[in-house]
């Protein structure tokens, strides 16, 4: 006999009647309730009351007692309208920022390089066409142009992905790959050498480019092409008809290089002849008495010594520069000290920017007196303009943050939330902050990888700014309290950014604060991105059982007096 039958002469409890009204009882129990209420007036009255109560509740709740508030009616329209002026302001400030960057950094650098005789009309053409840094740029130009095009197309596809059908996206992708293959240049003859000790003997001739890696690399023979070499001690005493690209501890050129030399090493010594220019990133760069450089020298060194002959200009960023040889062009030196020996001869203009005027020996032959400009220590002499620009940059950051919160609200909020996970964010930030650009540069080595590398580099660069915004938003939230809503978060972000930017302007510790904020923020962003890439659990997967509260009840049990 069921419990309901047991209670045939008693009243049914309220929960049973409610479940009956709500159609939650099984068939048998429902029948028993039905039978009981036919004979029990009290239960019937309660049943009817419960039913009426249900209807009253539904009616009360469904009644349109108040219209949709204006805030919600204009919710979308207002966002769109407000963003119109924001976009104008953002682009205006961005243009201002770019102009400041150009006039503050690019133009002076370009001017200096032009003054140094590189003769390019702008920095980009200098890099791309004259091969000031790498000859490969010249041959790679079409590829770079193409990659830029593919990047732009990729970005466009990303923006309009919702309008593209899968087939058309695939077609675009295959067309791009086809074009990429069409643009790929045919491989030329090349020779690879890898050993602890490599020697190209005197009578040996290598037709094509040479790629060599080893502890000791000695080239006594002839390479009819370019030389790419990485090692500890590298000596070129033979002949290279092309160019030399070297990364090593020490590079010594005793022989003849008909092209240019691009070098990153501890020391570079030239006693032989270099037909074209020399670009050197070395602790010490020395052109010995017998050394000859056909074109210009660009050196980023601790010390630069020129005792030999230079056919073009000398552009040096070196702590210590000593010139005792013959320079047919101009010299432009930026560093601590410049010393001109008595045997020195300079055919063009000479200028020096440093701490104290150049030391010029009496016998030196100069086409014109050396122009000296004392290095200004701007940190101690900040004009009003400095603070104006800082305010403009801080505003630009806030607007950038506003755009990000609008475009990627959820992601920005997640990244901001991750900032509070200090350990994980900072650790990941150090890893990504340093590893990503290195990986991007390595990826750029291959033509196909160039796109990926450039994209990764671009993302990394953007994250340098994004990181300050998420940390700013977190700082603002600590001060004003957390919020999950967009506009209050924008306000907190603005306050946080102002605080951060002010901290970064502090002398001595400002730089460290900036690095810490960037690494921290990059970590938080990376964490958010990582979590986004995790597979999402399908909604119909059963959830783990809830914590039990007492013993589970069978579905048809009356729950009297719970």
């Amino acid at each position: 006999m069921s419990e309901l039958e047991n209670t045939a002469n008693k009243h049914l409890d309220e929960i049973t009647l409610l479940l009956y009204v709500e159609r939650q009882l099984d068939r048998d129990s429902a029948q028993e309730v039905s039978l009981h209420t036919q004979t029990c007036t009290s239960c019937m009255t309660l049943l009817r009351a419960l039913d009426r109560e249900s209807r009253l509740l539904t009616r009360s709740m469904l009644e349109e007692d108040e219209p949709l508030p204006a805030r919600l009616t204009g919710f979308q329209a207002r966002v769109k309208k407000s963003m119109q002026w924001i976009w104008g302001l953002v682009f205006g400030l961005a243009a201002l920022g770019i102009y400041a960057l150009y006039t503050g950094y690019i133009e002076p650098a370009e001017h200096e390089l032009e003054q140094a005789g590189f003769g390019g009309t702008n920095l980009l053409s200098l890099l791309l066409f004259q091969g000031a840094l790498w000859k490969g740029w010249q041959s790679m130009f079409t590829s770079v142009e193409f990659v830029a095009l593919v990047s732009a197309a990729g970005f466009g596809l990303f923006l309009f992905r919702r309008y593209l059908k899968r087939a058309s996206a695939l077609a675009v992708m295959f067309a791009s790959l086809g074009l990429l293959a069409a643009f790929a240049s045919p491989a030329s003859a090349m020779e690879f050498r890898k050993s602890d000790s490599i020697q190209i003997k005197k009578d040996e001739v290598i037709k094509g480019d040479l790629y060599a890696t080893g502890e000791n690399v000695r080239l006594d023979g002839t390479v009819d092409g370019d030389v790419y070499v990485a090692g500890k001690q590298v000596v070129i005493s033979g002949r290279v008809t092309g160019e030399v690209f070297c990364a090593c501890q020490s590079l010594r050129i005793d022989g003849q290089v008909e092209g240019s030399v691009r070098n990153a090493s501890n020391s570079l010594t030239i006693t032989g002849t270099v037909g074209r220019g020399v670009t050197s990133f070395s602790e010490t760069t020395a052109i010995d008495l017998s050394g000859k450089v056909g074109h210009s020298i660009t050196a980023f060194s601790k010390s630069l010594t020129v005792d030999g002959t230079v056919g073009g200009d000398v552009l040096a960023f070196a702590a210590e520069t000593n010139i005792a040889g013959n320079i047919e062009g101009e010299i432009r030196v930026h560093g601590d000290s410049l010393s001109i020996g008595s045997n020195a001869s300079i055919g063009g203009k000479a200028s020096f920017e440093g701490n104290s005027p150049a030391d010029v020996a009496s016998g030196a032959k100069l086409a014109s007196p050396i122009t000296f400009k004392k290095i200004e220590h701007t940190r101690n002499a900040r004009g009003g303009g400095y603070y104006v620009w800082r305010v403009i940059w801080a505003s630009a950051f806030i607007l950038f943050g506003l755009v990000l919160l609008w475009v990627l609200p959820q992601f920005s909020k997640e990244a901001t939330g991750n900032v509070e996970n200090v350990g994980a964010s900072f650790g990941l930030g150090v890893l990504v902050g340093f590893a990503l650009p290195i990986a991007a540069i390595l990826t750029c080595v291959t033509v196909v990888g160039l796109f990926v590398g450039l994209s990764a580099f671009f993302l990394w660069f953007a994250s340098l700014y994004f990181s300050q915004i998420v940390v700013g938003a977190a700082v603002g939230s600590w001060i004003l309290g957390r919020t999950n809503e967009t506009w209050p978060l924008v306000g907190r972000m603005a306050i946080g950014i102002l605080i951060l930017r002010a901290s970064m302007a502090l002398p001595f510790i400002g730089g460290w604060i900036k690095i810490a904020v960037i690494l921290w923020g990059i970590g938080a962003i990376s964490l958010a991105a990582y979590r986004r890439l995790q597979p999402v659990m399908a909604p119909n997967i059963p959830t783990p059982p809830m914590a039990h509260v007492g013993t589970p009840l069978p579905p048809n049990t009356t729950v009297s007096g719970v």
Binding site: I15, M61, L72, N484, T486, V559
Partner: protein, 183 residues
Amino acid sequence: MIARVRAGDTQAWGDLYREFAPAIFRFCRRAMPTREDAEDATMEIFMKLRDKLTQYDQSRSFTAWLYRVAANHCWDMLRRRKARHDKDTEDIDDLPIEAPEPNQLEKLIEERTSEEVRKALDKLGARARMALVMRYYSDMSYDEIADALGVRRPFVGVVLLRARHELRQALGENSALAVGGTR
């Protein structure tokens, strides 16, 4: 319309908003303690909806799914604020429910207007109010209510019954009507 919204059609999104925003606002208005909370919740639900639409199974009712999203969001908000402390503690859940006197209950219900019910709803604890709104406004099933509130399915009826008792208490506060203890 849903397919168009999913495909990024802003016009369709506007249509969807216009069609469902009033109902969702009313849902939030009933479930949340203040009007401002309801407005905030409505905006957040629609912002959340853009991301969540990918999870919607088109073979099922969109309205039911939307109410589920709204219920989960409102309940999350309420839980975060720890607004349940007042009347939704375990201690109260363990207290026996006093059976009402049928005639008095019937009289009470008969005499109360919709407006009075809405005012009384505002006086309820968060869980009680949420349960009633889910059941009697958006017609959610017991399973869905159990899922949203994080209670076991057989306990939903008890939650609803307790909520009704709280409501009757609130409705009867300014009245000489007594609805319990005579059966």
